[in-house]
Every structure is written in C-alpha cells, then in structure tokens.
C-alpha cells in the first residue's frame, strides 16, 4: 500500500522517542564534563618519559632510536656531556612537539629501554601554539607510579622484564 | 467630529498618500525589480482603502488576487526577462524635461472633470458582503460568470500547450 512505508518510519522515530525515557540504550549521551567515559588500558594519546626515583634521573639514555623512527620527526634529543666533554648516558634536552605528534605509538614500540610510553591525557588545549605545545624534558617526565596507575598490565610486564634483566 | 472620525479620515488620506507615493516610485525607480515591489505596495494600499470603507470581502480578494497571484506572475516575468547577472536594467531616458508638457495637459483635463461631476454620497442600499455577492453571482450574473471561467480555461490550456513543447 502506498503510504505504509511512511507510517512505519514515523513509528520508528516515536518508538525511539518514548524508549529514550526508559532505557539508557536509547539515550546514549554522556554529559562530558560531569560524566566521563573510562578509557581502556591501551588507549594512547601523547608520549611521556618515565623515571624511577627523581625527574632528572630518567630511564632514557638518549640513544635517539625513537627520534629516528618517529614518522613525523617530532622528537629532538641532545645528549648530555660532563665537563670534560664526554657524552653521558642521559639527555640534556629531550623535547617532543605535541602539535606535530600524530600519537601513532611507534616510539613506544621501538624504545629498547622502556623509557617512552603513551600517556592518556587528551585535555591539553593551550592558547599559544609554538611554545606551549613544545613539551620539554621536565614537562614530559612522569613517575613510574603514575605510569602503573594508568596502565597496570604493561607496567607489571615491564617490572618483571627489568627485574629479570638486573639478575 | 469626534476624535475617531478625525483619526479615521486622517488614516484614509494617509493611505491615499501612501498609494500615490508608491505609484510614483513604481514608475520612476530605475531598478525593474524595485518597481515591481512598489506596484505591490500600491495594490496593498488600495486594499487598505477598501478596509476603511468596510468592504472587507473586496479588500481580502484584492490582496489575495493582486498581490498573491498577479504580482508573483509579474515578478517572475521581471526575473526571467532581465539578465539575471546585473542588478539594474539600464533605462535610457534622455530628455526628461519635455515629458511635463503632456503630463500637465492630461492632469488638467482630469482634475477639471473630477471637480465638475456631481458625486452623490448616499449610503449603499444593501451591505455588500460575501453572502450577497455570492447570491448575485449565482443568480443574476451566472452567464458572465460562466463566460469568464471559460476564458480562464482557454488561458490555462494555452499555457500548458506552450510549456509542454519543451
């Protein structure tokens, strides 16, 4: 019959309207600032550097593998030197340009020293584009406890691997 | 002369003045489309006159037919003829001065004729409203009514024949 399809369409929308008052399935809005969706274990946004005891003793040894492998080349590292000019095993400068980084997670995979991991923080808006998004070493450094808080399983695996290596 | 009569007459004359201004603008303005819009304002002014004279049915018909239908037709005609690209269609009118001579002559004749004729201002016998008009149309004037509808029918068929040729 000619008009049936039109009526069925009307029936679907009014069904959705009435059901939206009863089941959450039909009302899927998450009121963002008040309610938040809990992100999963592997969710990744921007890279951070992990340190064990204090922020200036990073796990990173400035081997620059991640800088070479990063597709958009947003990591830049300068190796530290002691007074005699002998290169040391930690970075003097380590900054990532968050506005260039496309959070692909390759740096996390290729880092042999488990020092760079992907954080989950996405509310990073800023007024100024050039300086504020160029994250320097101290802004990138995050403690191991923070890391194990946001990513428990990976942190556990990394701990076992590091203990095995020390033995 | 209570205040109401004073208000009513001033409104009446104001409407007439509005019609005159709109009609003058409609003729003199350069942009074709503006003159069509001013024509619409004159027609609405005339409808307001009918309202003031309590001939509501005629006023409603005036608006419905003239402004609703005929003006739309005229505006369509204006849009389709003038080149859509440029805003104003150039009107070449070199010697404006000499036009006042015939204008003055015609004006004089008209005004003198108006002043001479004896306008008898008696009350209309039967209140003209929709019901009386309808009865008159169907009883006494049914023949002209049918002829007019025939003419409209012919016009309709003509339009379809022209449009169908595309």
């Amino acid at each position: 019959m000619y008009g049936l399809g039109v009526l069925k369409g009307l029936w679907v929308t009014i069904k959705n309207f009435t059901l939206s008052y009863f089941t959450r399935k039909r009302l899927t809005t998450v009121q963002y600032p008040e309610e938040r969706i809990t992100l999963s274990e592997h969710a990744r946004t921007f890279p951070i550097l992990v340190y064990d005891e204090s922020p200036d003793k990073l796990r990173c040894v400035a081997c620059e593998i991640c800088a070479k492998e990063c597709p958009p080349k947003c990591i830049s590292i300068v190796r530290a030197q002691d007074e005699a000019g002998k290169p040391l095993k930690q970075p003097k400068f380590f900054d990532i340009d968050y506005s260039v980084c496309m959070n692909c997670g390759i740096c996390e995979e290729v880092c042999p020293f488990d020092s760079i991991y992907m954080d989950r923080q996405f509310e990073l808006s800023a007024y100024e584009r050039s300086e504020e998004f160029l994250y320097t070493k101290d802004r990138l450094a995050k403690s191991a406890e923070y890391f194990s808080k946001i990513r428990p399983e990976t942190a556990k695996k990394v701990e076992e691997k590091r203990k095995a290596k020390e033995k | 002369m209570t205040l109401f009569q004073f208000l009513a007459t001033t409104a009446f004359y104001a409407a007439m003045l509005g019609i005159l201004i709109a009609a003058a603008l409609c003729v003199t303005v350069r942009n074709l489309f503006h003159s069509a819009v001013f024509l619409a304002f004159t027609l609405i002014g005339i409808a307001m006159l009918y309202f003031f004279l309590q001939a509501e049915f005629i006023a409603a018909m005036q608006i419905l037919l003239y402004v609703g239908a005929i003006m739309t037709l005229i505006v369509f005609a204006v849009m389709l003829t003038s080149r859509m690209g440029n805003p104003a269609v150039p009107q070449s009118f070199k010697n404006k001065k000499i036009v006042f001579l015939p204008l003055g002559l015609v004006g004089f004749i008209l005004i003198s004729a108006i002043l001479k004729t004896p306008w008898e201002t008696s009350e209309p016998q039967t209140a003209v409203n929709a019901v009386t008009l309808g009865k008159a149309l169907m009883n006494q004037y049914v023949f002209p009514f049918e002829v007019v509808s025939l003419v409209l029918l012919v016009a309709l068929i003509g339009a379809i024949v022209i449009a169908r040729s595309e």
């Binding site: 000619y2 008009g3 369409g9 679907v12 992100l39 592997h42 390759i106 290729v110 | 080149r83 022209i162």
Partner: protein, 386 residues
C-alpha cells in the same frame, strides 16, 4: 561567477531560460569534505558538471618516499579516515608480498575480524550521510553513530585509538586482543542485525526515499566496467566483482558468504546493496569468531621488524597488494630499491576512480539529485586527493 571553462556556451534556444552557472563549491554542506563541482544549470536541470579536486592534497605518496616501511603505516590510517584498518590491511599485504613475510593463523583471523568491523562502520555511516543529503534532519546519522560508538570503543580497547588505529604490522598485528574481545564482538554481531532491521524499517520502504532514489543517477554496466569502478558502486550496477571472492587474499577463502548484486545501478541500488553487504559481513564475523585459534599474534620476523624497523630488509623489486576496502578495490603499488625506504609508493584509491563517472551520472538530473548521487558514490576526500 563566470568561470572561463564554461564560457563557450552553445547557442540557447528561444524559450530557454538563461543558463545558471553554480559552483557547488568547496564550502558546501554536503560535499563530504573539500570538493567542488562547477555545475551549469538550465532551471533545475544539470547540463554540465565539472568536478574540481585537490583541495585536500597532502602529498601523501611523495612523503612516503623518505619514510621507513613501518613509519608509512600510521599515514595509511589517514587515507580513508573512516576505515583506517582496511587501509592498514592492504598496505601490510603489499609489503608482506614484497618482503615475503608469513602471517600466523590467529593474526589472519584478527585481521579479517577488524576489516569486517570497519566495513560495518563505513556502510552505516554512509547510509546515515546519504539520508542527510536527502534531507532527513540527522536522524539516520545519529542512529548510525549510536552503533558506531560501540565499535569505536572496541577499536580503542584493541588498537589504542578510535579512528587512527595503526594496528597492523608486517607479519601480523601489533598486540594481542584483550581477553573479553571475542565476547564483545559476539555481542555486537548478535545485536547489529536488530539495529539494521530498525534502520530498514525507517528507511527502505519510505515512499519519499523510494521516489527520490529510484532511477536517479543510473550507472550503466558497460560504463562502470570501462571506467574501472570497483566496490559496492560496481556491484549495484549488476557486476558481481568482489576481490574477497576473486583473490581470496588472507583467509577469506575459508568463509562462506554471499555477494549482493543490484540491477538498475541507481542511487537506491547503491544504498540497498550496502545494507545487504553489512548483513554478509556479519556472517563472516560470526564464522571468524567461532574458528579463531590461539597462538602468537605476529611472526618472529614481523616482531623483529616491529621492534627494530631498521633491520627490515625489503628486497629490490615491486609488488601490488589489493584488498576489498569498504569503498572499493584499495591497492598499494610499492617499488623497493633495497634501501630502508620505498622507492615508489602509489595508492590505487577507489574513491578517486569512482568519482570519474560523476558527470556521466549527473547529466540531465536535477540539482537535488547531484548531491545524492555524489553521496551514493561514497567518497572520502582524504583518499581522493591523497
């Protein structure tokens, strides 16, 4: 707007209204991105249409020539940003064919599951936006987005990001799936047909949709084949050409599924073929979940190449890997000169090639139809302009 290309108009007949040159410009509410069509109209009828592209050209192919093989993978997500995993799939296949890397069983199944979930997302979003072009005030789109959110949350848990997944590696996938993955996919597979039935009830027999989409923008079979059209647009014109059935790449040979085919090749066929395809993808997902084995997720060589990308030795030569992406045949033609970087990297983008027949379909149609014909071809400008 007197663009030079349209200046030499042929002589107008007497009764003709003046021709109207309209540019449905890059900023238009329903060109699915930055895409311009210079249309010559006679009243509402389209006389000539010239697509203008290139607004979103990001120099993708040249950029890849100084990236390592692995570094190209995250860029393939950005080609057709609606189905990132389908792009990863064909790029991974092309490199594996070139470098001769094997893929373990479990990874093959995971790849097929991910590809079919992406097909679901792409088709419901397309149906939603096609209805939005038709004028339905956002209702079908929001129903489609309600379902898409479930799938995107699943992608976030598995691959780490909702749309830019970067999950495939040469020789398998980046990381094993979380334990409840199979349960969640099964729940989606059970619940999706109910959503599709509701969407069909709202749309498929709606008289306004039927009269607006039937016999509009007809793509004849011969033209479709000659123009190299692939994907649902080709199948809607009546040619059963599906690369999953022809190449039987990866493990598609093991799954039993059908390929829907339309006959008139108009907008309605393209719409309905996609809905039937979604039902077929659900069949594939059903069989894939039941048969998925355990085991490692990436081969020895693959893991080593992922960990140390420099060590991936791709021998000299060229290869062309293609898969049935939701929009058509997405192929990667890679030439390697033995160094760590691809010498030549070309993407056969289905949207770009399907767009070439836009003018033939739009001549003689109304302005309103041009928009839905463009919508029914399902183009994404990231893939068209690369």
């Amino acid at each position: 707007m007197n663009c030079p290309y349209l200046q030499n108009m042929d002589q107008q007949s007497t009764l003709d209204t003046q021709r109207l040159e309209v540019s449905l410009g890059p900023q238009h509410p329903s060109t699915h991105g930055v895409f311009q069509m210079d249309v010559v109209l006679d009243g509402e009828q389209v006389i000539r249409l010239k697509p203008v592209m290139g607004y979103l050209h990001r120099n993708h192919e040249k950029l890849m020539e100084n990236m390592s093989w692995l570094a190209c993978m995250p860029y393939t997500d950005r080609l057709d940003y609606f189905c990132a995993l389908a792009n990863n799939f064909s790029y991974a296949l092309a490199v594996e064919k070139l470098a001769g890397i094997e893929v373990p069983e479990r990874a093959q199944y995971l790849r097929v599951i991910m590809a079919e979930l992406t097909r679901l997302i792409n088709h419901i979003v397309l149906v939603g936006f096609l209805l939005n072009d038709l004028g339905a005030f956002f209702t079908p789109v929001l129903y489609a987005f309600r379902e898409r959110e479930k799938l995107l949350d699943l992608f976030e848990d598995v691959t780490g990001s909702r749309m830019m997944c970067n999950y495939f590696r040469f020789g398998g996938v980046k990381r094993d799936v979380p334990p409840d993955f199979i349960l969640r996919v099964r729940e989606i597979v059970n619940q999706f047909p109910k959503f599709l039935d509701e969407l069909e009830e709202l749309l498929t027999h709606n008289e306004i949709l039927l009269s607006r989409c039937q016999n509009v923008g007809i793509l004849p079979k011969a033209l479709a084949v000659n123009a190299g059209i692939t994907g649902p647009v080709l199948r809607a014109s009546g040619i059963p050409y599906d690369i999953r059935k022809i190449d039987k790449y990866s493990i598609y040979g093991r799954f039993k599924f059908r390929v829907p085919v339309g006959e008139a090749g108009d907008v309605y066929d393209r719409y309905y073929v996609r809905i039937l395809e979604m039902r077929e993808s659900l069949q594939i997902l059903e069989q894939a979940i039941n048969e998925i084995p355990d085991g490692e997720v990436i081969s020895k060589a693959g893991a080593q190449a992922a960990k140390m990308p420099r060590t991936l030795k791709v021998p000299k030569g060229d290869a062309y890997g293609r898969t049935e992406a939701p929009k058509g045949e997405l192929g990667f033609y890679l030439v390697s000169d033995g160094s760590g970087k691809p010498y030549r990297y070309h993407v056969r983008a289905p949207s770009f090639i399907n767009l070439t027949v836009l003018e033939d379909m739009c001549i003689g149609q109304k302005v309103a139809d041009v928009i839905i014909i463009l919508g029914s071809i399902d183009i994404v400008l990231g893939e068209v302009d690369r």
